[in-house]
Symmetry: C3
């Protein structure tokens, strides 16, 4: 695309005015138009950067990040998105301690937000807690803004919670649109996805307790685009009921199929997209959350043993060349949120055979590369009242992000 017009024209057709001054917590709280607007703005921001055009909309301001878990990728994606828009990042390091509630959340949320335009939170460890905590923060800063404590209401971006991983899954979906959609026109590209088959499958990992937010996010989002989504996992690795219900409802609306199976090969059969990835059983995560709440460290250790043993019963859930051969023309798009457990590379036995991973390395990195732009787009749409106008204004300022570029 030679200029931003193609993006702004597509945006003109959408209704996303409710995103202004909003937050981004779960993809299924957003309309199809709103989701599409995020994709378009993400692509537009990437287009600007590729053309050395600055997307700085803030002269000053902070993006506050709060990570309950170690995170290099998401941390850098959030930092990159903030930087792209002109915000400095300030980390709130509360450690991995059990999450604060009530008064403390309310107070801390305000104390860190005096000059915060954005708050990014990753809190995926405890079932029933992460998303709830994010909503408490939103409420606190909304009240703080109304009371004149805060000059602005910071926008909250969910960088992964116990339910959804919207920045990851939106990046994944944008990757699918570009790789499988086969058109620069987003409406055409999405239309082309109709009837395509996606296999979101469990895979064996020698570690345990991986969050459910990725498979849940994928089935909650991908089912909106008319694609037939098959969720495959061994018995006992069920995802949250409420998210499965979202996937079903999406499919009913889009006329697609949502299938659950305990057979990896069945999921791979004729699939256009495969996303084999380990996760922990929902019920086990719920149990672990309670054990942590009770401070029962013996119980946690015992649960860990059980879970590792349970995983080890399913070492055959590996994305092999053999399985890949079952996919559409043997050429399904292999996806992963990274890092993957690669057999013989990062572990003895893992999620994926080394030769499969090798073959898809560039597309996998490309998939990941959409994340900072997705986050930036979520912020942009919450902060810019008239995105089309501002995108055009940015473009008209010229190629000056990096002075001295050849």
């Amino acid at each position: 695309m030679s200029n931003v017009k193609q993006f702004t024209k597509a945006l003109d057709k959408l209704n996303f005015e409710n995103m202004y001054d909003g937050d981004f917590l779960l993809t299924w709280e957003k309309t199809d138009d709103e989701v599409k607007a995020v994709f378009l703005v993400a692509d537009a921001l990437r287009h600007l950067r590729e053309n050395n055009i600055s997307s700085k909309i803030f002269k000053s301001g902070l993006g506050v990040s709060l990570f309950r878990d170690n995170s290099t990728r998401t941390r850098f994606s959030f930092g990159s998105a903030c930087n792209l828009l002109g915000l400095a990042v300030q980390d709130l390091d509360e450690g991995k301690s059990q999450i604060a509630h009530g008064e403390t959340v309310r107070e801390t949320a305000n104390m860190i937000s005096f000059m915060a335009d954005v708050i990014g939170i990753r809190d995926d460890m405890y079932i029933g807690k992460g998303n709830t905590y994010m909503r408490e923060v939103v409420e606190a800063v909304t009240l703080g803004n109304e009371a004149g404590v805060l000059e602005q209401k910071p926008t909250l971006v969910n960088l992964q919670c116990d339910i959804d991983h919207p920045t990851q899954c939106m990046a994944d979906m944008l990757h699918v649109i570009h790789e499988i959609g086969g058109s620069d026109d987003i409406d055409e590209a999405i239309a082309n996805l109709k009837g395509k088959k996606v296999a979101m499958t469990w895979a064996y990992s020698p570690s345990y307790g991986k969050p459910l937010s990725v498979p849940q996010g994928v089935i909650g989002l991908f089912t909106r685009f008319g694609m037939d989504v098959t969720l495959a996992h061994p018995k006992g690795y069920e995802v949250m009921d409420e998210v499965a219900a979202v996937a079903k409802a999406n499919c009913e609306a889009s006329g697609a199929k949502f299938t659950v199976t305990n057979d990896m090969a069945e999921a791979f059969k004729d699939a256009d997209v495969v996303y084999p990835k380990s996760w922990a059983p929902f019920s086990a995560m719920e149990k672990r959350t309670n054990l942590y709440a009770e401070g029962d460290s013996d119980g946690i250790k015992a649960l860990e043993k059980v879970l590792l043993a349970q995983n080890a019963e399913h070492k055959d859930w590996e994305c092999t060349e053999e399985l890949m051969a079952l996919t559409k023309d043997g050429k399904a798009l292999y996806m992963h949120c990274l890092p993957a457990d690669i057999t013989g590379v990062s572990c003895d036995e893992g999620e994926v055979e080394a030769s499969v991973f090798d073959r898809y390395r560039d597309p996998l990195y490309k998939e990941a590369s959409f994340k900072p732009y997705i986050i930036a787009a979520m912020i942009f749409l919450a902060k810019v009242k008239d995105p089309q106008k501002v995108l055009k204004a940015l473009e008209s300022k010229g190629k000056d992000r990096w002075i001295g570029k050849e």
Copy 2:
């Protein structure tokens, strides 16, 4: 106020030219005009931000922060102030180890200051050390600048020392001016404070060793504004003699009263402002400093026990509804630097009854919200030779801090 003129006109009447290229260590080293200038610039910067006008005076430059103690609030306030003015924050993490002296201070101060325009230090743990350390840093960078090592002399802002907590107490005082002063005109507002009564009182906390810098800062500053200040604490919780002397001298100059009592109710009686907050006895802190210096960890543990027991004798020093009812019309402004020990919320028995805290939550958050602007004003006045001119210039640039705002 509709524009910055009201602030610049008020600044025109003040003499604060010595603040340029200076530092901010203790409020009582500043003249009344200089203190007032900080309030005016803080309000002006807040006014600009509320109106989406950028206050960036630096295109590049660093604000170096050095915290001897964990600190979320002050860290974010300093970070916010730097960001508002265009400085990036770089943390110097020396850990909580005993403070370096002599050669090391001199060297480190220069090594971190090559592009530092500001250094913010919090160092309140050791009696007789924190403020001294800050002066060593100021001397080192002044010499470094003179020797051509540093292109600029960074401004030091005291973010809390063993003696004073100027950024906190200035924020507290600005809050009082706005809440009690009853006028947009700062001279009128301050005149209206004459004869008002402030109760700075000790309160029970189940933790120990809280710094004295807040009560000392409050009595050292609030006494300058013609307000009658009563300092109340149990016997044994005396503050530093030199600061009590500052408070007395201030009162003599302003014609107000500085009273010390061991009766919390007496302090609350007819008070317009109450600031009930725990602190450690000065002599105990002095003892602890020496024990740390000697590396006597058994002595430190023993002292801890003694101090907790001593605190526990004064659990009745709680800011209750009953005590609040004694204040002027039962409606004194309740203040706290946060976080407070709230009875039944953050601890079993603490500094304040939950219903009192609840009632004042918004004003408490507002009180805290002045801190980043106070810090920014201290920096601004040390870095801008003609503040009125620059404030007007910033305003004339228009509403562009956040492009896309509704």
Copy 3:
């Protein structure tokens, strides 16, 4: 100098076009013209800053830092350089764990680089690893850029590896040019260095395992300028053969002498510059690297004991007043990368006598102050296609780095 013209005119005479889009790993991989260009741009950037002219060439973008070792000085120098050019710093904190290889390096390098314009790495702990790791990172991001994963190829700056410490030694050399060269004209100044004698000598330290990158960097760089370089150390403290070979080859090209001796006094005799500094024996570092790789912590402890005992045999290797008196007119320029082990100040017996250090404090700080500008110059030359044009353009924008400066 009154304007940047003097720098741009000197740059006009040099051929450094290969630096664009490049990296900076070892000084001896750069031509004389390229090294000189770094010095000129460093001086030009310092000149701009001294004159309150902004050198911001990036409106947004990240400088990613990766430190395998604690580092205050280099961290601040890198942060300052990035800030000067408009980049925000994002730290990648991988801890001090053994370095990742292969797939992990490739993946991480891309995941942190979506908006990275620069990557700065310090990795000097393990012989044969640090520099190799940096090259793996360069390869990974080059491939990532070619595959469309990264919009730009970040420039890698070696902030210290197992072989060289180019940012330190370039700063050291620029200091020598200014202190000994005796001319504002860089060609004249360098010509004046011909025949001057440099003593790079080992010195006793009560700690062990200090990296070899400084002495290696110094002999690998200083030998290019026609100066006679004497490397002095006790037997057993030999540096890497390949770097000694570089020094020899440089001397052959420049007509100077490279001498190795085991006599500190011989090195100091008639020296114009002395650089007495402790380092670990290369063979011991190699051994330690293998012990770490084998996870042999007993072996590491045993080696530590041996090394400390070995050091202690050479306590007479101290830079004393007596030794300084042997130097040219007793006035050699004393250099150190800091912090130095100062006898009676930072340790009982160390690298340098306190009175010597005291006398050279200002020049030592000045030496260090070149480092952020050297790093900025390395980045500038890798990122700016036409440095002369951009330097002139920056100057013409006027004195606006710090608005409000007197």
